[in-house]
Amino acid sequence: MKKGFIATLALALVLALTGCGNGEPDQDEKSEGVMTYAEYEAAALDTQVVIEAYVQAKQSWWENQATVYAQDKEGAYFLYNMACSEEDYAKLTPGTKIKVTGYKTEWSGEVEIIDATFEILEGNYVASALDVTSLLGTDDLIAHQNKFVSFKGMTVEDAGNGSAFMYNWDGSGEEGSDLYFNVSLNGNTYTFTVESYLCGADTEVYQAVKALEIGQTVDMEGFLYWYNGVNPHITSVTVK
């Protein structure tokens, strides 16, 4: 009786986990001809790649080209200037599943897919932020490039102008420009960015960063972008 109960429970668990219980296909399973994240990761630069992933954030749309952060349960993708009509861009809400065909490339350390086309598929997944605070300054961090991540308990430092942030990297910008700010952990300082196309002046995070004060402790979330080193594009800031 006990054995039977355990077997039944195990079967139910397996069915629940695989999604077979309701007769629907497993939305995490890659379609025919689509790479797993591991295969994408192993693909050489300048080769054609076909991936399926879920939109996590839209950065910009311009002249029928969209720049998008996407992720599946194994890894993340930066889709740069992907062919996209304005109508389709509106459909790319967080969680939307897409199949993307393009070329894998690297620009200043950022591995991305360019010259891509896409189609919208059935399925939805929004990633929770992965805490990578402990990986800052380590070689392991890059393995999470482009993922939605969080940083916890960091200290706001002088941005270089006596203030907690600067417009553009050198203070040459104005309201609406990218915001640059420094945060430290264990004596090491890192430069984070509010990318103005991803999060413009009317967003909460933009205003929150402008309100930061040197010495405050903050938790942050954002996308692990790369530009000659880690350069997270922050999407939320919480002052502790």
Partner: protein, 540 residues
């Protein structure tokens, strides 16, 4: 983490369609247009004016500070004129925003821009103010008697730079700063490879050295730098690359009338050469790999071609840098003009921001805008801005001033204001003004420029993707680029302008009929006027 501004790489041509559509829809500013600007007899100083100035900076705080100071100093001279600054770091975005604002009549008053872009703005009627009458106005014109500052006379603007702002038989802008491109060379590596830098850099020399630099050991490490990365030759602006190569070859690009000539055999030959060196890894571009300066300074590039206005990023001791201290490599930097096909007749592009004034219903406001635009040509502004990068002032008044000459003479005194690479880049242009050229400006020239660069980008990308570059590929490339940048419309428009031979007899007869009708109308009106004069005389 700093100057990563690739986020906007607009393709400009489709905007032409947008502009045309907007102008068509907005009859107010499109078909009839605003009243043409007339210079007011006097500048009305009893009124207050608020004008907007859209300015471009190179993501450089000193430059934005100079704009702000210029505005403040100008306000002291003209307390009734308030200038509101809006900053951009990208010409393409200014262009986009201007076009969007033309249809709503909310263009800025003064705007930093390229002549190519102005040619598109001119699709609307009386949108941009022609400046020649303002230049010549004895009171408010260049060097005018009523100016509250010492500005240059027209003759003191470097003629080549001023001519770049003349098209459609008018001056539609004044030059603000000028630059050209420079080849920043890692001399240390060139010599380590056994080569000696020539007096004039040639394309053959650059390709030869670049190929030599691709040699690797069995481990994949490049012999010249001991690193895993080496792109010997990186070009920032591939549109300039193609344009200058064609100019040096004497091959077609476009005519002043807008006839597109770029799809020729020389272009094909040049693209095959690019493909050959992309295939070995000797060549890449900014769009494909990243900023040339980053690779140069990390010892991963030998020939980095970028604007002279990017000189402060070049070299081991560059005051601006995007890479970490640990990644910097010590080497000796040389500053050369771009490579040449014929060393005896060097040709290089002249580029840099110009300033245009937009028309407004209030002509006093336009005059206030012109005064501010002109103020940007004073020595104070010209010299300060030129010192921020490898720019040169656009007036002989500034170039010959003691202050500017002193600045040039201090080359290398520090790695900031007197950074030697920056000053050598400026001197490069100063000594080669006669060798500079500009491309013809017409409605569609901005798109043709983009197309020129796109062909190099496409070929390089295709090689990287192991595609076959052959005649069929080139045919397809020409077709794709023509379509992508809608050059067919420009080609058709030009073709329509060509001599179509004698008029058909029917058309000639119709035109003759029209002429006769107008003559008869004229005679009738004159007859009536004569009768009226007689009546008035009789009345008195």
């Amino acid at each position: 983490m700093k100057k990563n501004n690739r986020k906007l790489r607009p393709r400009l041509l489709p905007l032409l369609t947008l502009l045309a559509a907007l102008l068509t829809l907005s009859g107010c500013h499109g078909s009839r247009g605003m009243e043409a600007f007339r210079i007011p007899e006097d500048f009305d100083t009893s009124r207050d004016y608020e004008i907007t100035f859209w300015a471009k900076n190179d993501t450089n705080k000193t430059q934005t500070d100079i704009y702000k100071k210029a505005i403040s100093d100008f306000h002291e001279l003209y307390p009734n004129i308030t200038v509101n600054l809006r900053l951009y770091t990208d010409y393409g975005r200014i262009y986009n925003d201007v076009i969007t604002n033309i249809s709503t009549g909310t263009t800025p008053n003064v705007c930093i821009t390229y002549p190519d872009h102005i040619a598109t703005y001119l699709t609307g009627v009386n949108i941009v103010v022609p400046l020649e009458e303002l230049f010549a106005d004895p009171r408010y014109g260049l060097g005018g008697s009523e100016l509250r500052f010492e500005g240059p006379a027209q003759a003191e603007i470097i003629p080549q730079f001023l001519e770049e702002c003349a098209f459609n038989e008018h001056y539609y802008a004044i030059p603000y700063m000028r630059s050209t491109e420079a080849c920043y060379v890692n001399r240390t590596y060139v010599e380590a490879l056994g080569f000696t830098l020539p007096e004039v850099l040639t394309w053959d020399f650059v390709w030869e050295v670049a190929e030599a630099a691709t040699a690797r050991d069995g481990d994949g490490t490049y012999l010249v730098n001991g690193q895993k990365v080496m792109i010997p030759f990186i070009y920032k602006s591939t549109d300039n690359m193609m344009i200058q190569m064609l100019e040096q070859k004497g091959a077609g690009y476009s005519t002043a009338q807008g006839e597109i000539q770029i799809f020729n055999d020389t272009t094909r030959e040049l693209l095959y050469t690019v493909a050959e060196h992309a295939k070995t890894g000797a060549f890449s571009t900014f769009k494909i790999s990243s900023y040339p300066a980053n690779f140069l300074n990390a010892g991963q590039c030998i020939f980095a071609i970028d604007s002279t206005a990017g000189a402060t990023w070049m070299g081991t001791h560059a005051p601006l840098s995007d890479i970490s201290e640990e990644a910097l490599v010590e080497f000796e930097t040389e500053v050369y003009p771009i490579p040449q096909f014929d060393p005896d007749t060097p040709r290089m592009i002249s580029q840099g921001p110009s300033v245009c004034v937009f028309n407004k219903p209030d002509h006093q406001e336009v005059l206030a805008s012109w005064l501010f635009a002109q103020y940007l040509l004073t020595n104070e502004v010209q010299i300060a801005y030129a010192e921020t990068e490898g720019y040169v002032p656009v007036t002989s008044m500034a170039q010959n001033s003691a202050r500017y000459q002193d600045y040039l003479s201090r080359s290398g005194q520090d790695n900031d204001t007197y950074y030697d690479i920056k000053i050598r880049a400026s001197q490069l242009l100063l000594t080669h003004v006669e060798d500079t050229f500009v491309t013809p400006v017409f409605n569609g020239s901005a798109s043709l420029r983009d197309a020129a660069g796109q062909m190099i980008e496409s070929v390089t990308k295709s090689v990287n993707r192991k595609e076959t570059i052959d005649s069929a590929y080139m045919d397809k490339l020409y077709e794709n680029v023509t379509s992508m940048y809608r050059l067919q419309a420009t080609m058709q428009a030009t073709s329509d302008k060509k001599d179509l031979g004698p008029l058909p007899p029917m058309a000639a007869a119709l035109l003759a009929g029209l002429g006769i009708t107008w003559l008869l109308i004229g005679a009738y009106v004159a007859h009536g006027a004569a009768k009226n004069r007689k009546k008035r005389q009789n009345h008195h």
